[in-house]
């Protein structure tokens, strides 16, 4: 906090504020994100839809920001990035400095700039939106711009780190773990990340498709971590390949568990196990992790022509847009609430609509039918209406009697949620978990009921966002550092 106010008082910031009149700033239109044409992009699974702002547009967009005395945007960001400070650095052309501000709080700004639900977080609190009733400053676009610029132009410095020789193990390699590993290595620890799959990155690699988050962005962050000395062990399922006890014997003093919410939910309706019906995790894993859509890879994947995707979250959008890219004639969403309640990022819904995805809202599957080979051929759906608000604050969908009708289909993707990965709790009977199966932690330190074990990300939250997972990783690093320092000294 202190920091932010001091920074705002720096001479250059004052000058910059005076340089352009408020009226001139507010007269500028919000920048539009240049993107690939919908008709063209639906042919490429691995080409990013959003192209990114250029230096000029970014500078102009940065000029819109009023450098507010009380920047509400910061309160909307789950990790409280000093938003005006990075934006003002862009305005004055110091892009690498802007990236530096982002790096203070976020381990993966190029990722968050792309996948944060900005319209619900930082941008939702922007002065423009709330006081001027104008489109918010494009904080996400600017964040992505600064991070991409740094990757392309910056020389990643490898700071001198004084090693303390204390070994810590990180379980899982999603955003929470990467953020934790980055913080701990800088504090001098000997950090090893264990990942069950054959690729590092968690959902960033196996879930979110390349048309939203190219792999090279994640890989370049991984390279940075490797340069700092973080070790990665893939194909290693902690709790199975080696137990926590084994790892302790090998000298590990602290454990950070960020094993994610990997277990896919199904609806348990008749016919759900027919062939051609799969979870979004299976579909996206086949395509993103196993490269199943490419001929030179061995893993097969159905290429449905009439694809039904059940759900309204990011996983549903990613699946339905993937199916279009793999050659479906018709790809549709079936979602039980209305467009307003969809949890997916607004931008993805818009992109999906531009790509010709059909939306069947207030509709819910009740039964599947198959052809003589056991392959799905039809889904029976029921119309819904919105009733009273439920625990989540959203209006509860209520089935309308007698409203069933059938949709022909040859492939169904079920994207109705996930639950916490049960493996770690199952091998640690002393670990306190909630009824939902999430690991219980002290919210400030992220320490669990087992003192040397800290946890964060989806395994604690039961399904959240990349930025929240990263914030947890950072906090856990501070918590564990304090714990280990007290225990073993500096």
């Amino acid at each position: 906090m202190e920091d932010r106010i001091e920074r705002r008082d720096q001479e250059w910031r004052k000058e910059l504020r005076l340089k352009t009149k408020g009226r001139e700033r507010t007269a500028i239109q919000r920048a539009e994100m240049p993107m690939m044409d919908p008709l063209e992009r639906v042919h490429y699974q691995d080409r990013e839809v959003n192209i990114g702002l250029d230096l000029n547009t970014a500078g102009q967009e940065a000029t819109r920001c009023m450098d507010c005395v009380n920047p509400e945007c910061v309160t909307g960001c789950p990790v409280n990035i000093d938003i005006p400070s990075f934006i003002k650095n862009i305005e004055r052309g110091e892009i690498l400095k802007a990236a530096g501000v982002l790096r203070e709080t976020s381990a993966l700004p190029a990722v968050c700039g792309r996948v944060c639900p900005q319209e619900k977080q930082c941008e939702a609190h922007c002065f423009y939106l709330n006081k001027l009733k104008k489109p918010a400053v494009a904080i996400g676009y600017l964040e992505r711009f600064a991070a991409d610029y740094e990757r392309e132009h910056g020389v990643a410095e490898v700071p001198e780190i004084k090693k303390n020789g204390i070994k810590v193990a990180v379980i899982g390699s999603g955003p929470s773990s990467l953020s934790f590993a980055g913080s701990m290595i800088k504090k001098g620890y000997d950090v090893t990340v264990f990942e069950a799959l054959h690729e590092i990155g968690g959902v960033l690699k196996y879930g979110i498709p390349e048309f939203r988050l190219p792999n090279n962005i994640v890989n370049s962050e991984l390279e940075n971590l490797k340069k700092l000395g973080v070790k990665f062990e893939k194909d290693f399922l902690v709790g199975r390949t080696s137990s926590f006890e084994d790892l302790k014997e090998e000298g590990y003093k602290g454990f950070f568990v960020a094993s994610g919410a990997g277990l896919p939910s199904f609806m348990h309706i008749p016919g759900e196990n027919f062939n051609g019906i799969m979870s979004s995790n299976e579909y996206l894993t086949r395509v993103n992790l196993m490269n199943a859509a490419k001929d030179e890879f061995d893993t097969p994947v159905f290429k449905g022509k009439r694809v039904v995707v059940v759900g309204g979250g990011n996983t549903a959008m990613d699946s339905v847009r993937t199916s279009k890219r793999l050659g479906a004639d018709k790809s549709m969403i079936v979602y039980r609430r209305s467009m307003n309640e969809m949890p997916a990022r607004l931008e993805e819904v818009k992109h999906a609509q531009d790509e010709g995805i059909e939306f069947n809202t207030l509709t819910n599957p009740v039964e599947y039918f198959a052809d003589e080979k056991g392959h799905v051929s039809r889904v029976r759906v029921q119309k819904m209406e919105l009733g009273k608000a439920d625990a989540s604050g959203r209006r509860r969908p209520v089935p309308i009697e007698g409203s069933e009708y059938d949709i022909d289909t040859d492939m169904v993707v079920v994207a109705v949620g996930v639950s916490p990965n049960p493996l770690v709790p199952s091998v640690l009977p002393n670990l306190k978990v909630s009824k939902r199966g999430t690991i219980e932690v002290n919210e400030e330190t992220m320490q669990s009921s087992i003192p040397e074990l800290f946890a964060g990300g989806d395994i604690v939250r039961g399904g959240a966002t990349v930025i929240l997972a990263m914030g947890d990783g950072r906090r856990a690093a501070n918590g564990m550092d304090q714990y280990l320092t007290e225990k073993y000294g500096k």
Partner: protein, 276 residues
């Protein structure tokens, strides 16, 4: 890591592969499996750990050539490295002293049966094994199974070895002859289905080890789901062994054929490439 130390061949299509995997060798128990990817472009396939040597740090796989991935693997030589190998996965077999065990193995299923037979014998059970295959050269590991069984009955469809007939014929004779406390069956799905029907008739608790299609093998995708007692379960984390009397084998057989056309196409393309 994952270096192939030794290979061998049991029959035309069944191969033995010994791989260096010290951590897995140490952690594995009977019933566990691994998932591997032969090379960067390969798919992830599940294979049971047939045996392990903790001192040498190796695990033994017994693999039947079925399609692209298993053929690639069976063609690998000592010194070659398997790109990725993770395990041990699944739940271990519940091994305890119950009295007399009837262990039925069919084809390549005899390999995963071996450590289980060994386990049951070591805790003091009487073990009777029935090994079945289409013909003589498909009966593998007979000597090793004998070492841990009180009796071994061999059945072949064509009568080229042992008794003529399918596994259930041999199994029923034993069930009629003496009291069986528990049965375990591993083999082709159809064989497990009929064995389950047989033991149900005699009310013998039966475990079957299911061979579903898998992707990650860690509970993340649901490709391996089966209906057990009317509930959807994931074979890789809830299994691979389930109460055979509760398994919906017909659904499982349909699901195993799910990618048949894609697999056939891939296999033909692979063979064509090999011949170039």
């Amino acid at each position: 890591m994952n270096e192939i130390i030794e290979t061998g061949q049991f029959s035309e299509k069944v191969f033995k592969i010994v791989v260096s995997a010290p951590r897995i060798a140490k952690s594995r128990k009977p019933g566990h499996f691994i998932v591997l990817r032969t090379d960067e472009n390969g798919e992830r396939i599940p294979l049971t750990i047939a045996d392990a040597d903790v001192k040498q740090g190796t695990i033994t796989l017994v693999v039947q050539k079925a399609g692209v991935s298993t053929t690639k693997l069976c063609n690998m030589k000592p010194g070659d490295k398997i790109a990725d190998l993770v395990g041990p996965l699944g739940k271990a077999t519940k091994i305890k002293k119950v009295g007399t065990i009837l262990a039925c193995g069919g084809g390549v299923g005899i390999a995963p049966l071996l450590p289980i037979v060994e386990g049951f014998k070591k805790v003091g059970n009487r073990v009777i094994s029935v090994l079945a295959g289409r013909s003589k050269d498909l009966i593998i590991l007979e000597d090793q199974i004998k070492k841990w069984s009180d009796e071994v009955v061999v059945m072949t469809d064509d009568g080229s070895y042992g008794h003529k007939g399918v596994v259930t014929v041999g199994a029923e004779e034993i069930i009629k002859r003496e009291e069986i406390n528990e049965c375990i069956v591993i083999g082709p799905t159809v064989m497990m289905k009929f064995t389950a029907l047989l033991t149900k008739k005699y009310n013998i608790p039966t475990q079957a080890s299911l061979n579903t299609v898998m992707v990650d093998g860690t509970g993340m995708c649901g490709a391996c789901r089966v209906s057990v007692g009317g509930k959807t379960r994931f074979t890789c984390i809830d299994g691979p062994e389930f109460d055979a009397h509760q398994v919906d084998f017909d659904e499982l057989i349909l699901r195993l054929g799910g990618y048949k056309e894609e697999e056939k196409r891939a296999y033909n393309a692979y063979l064509e490439n090999q011949n170039k």
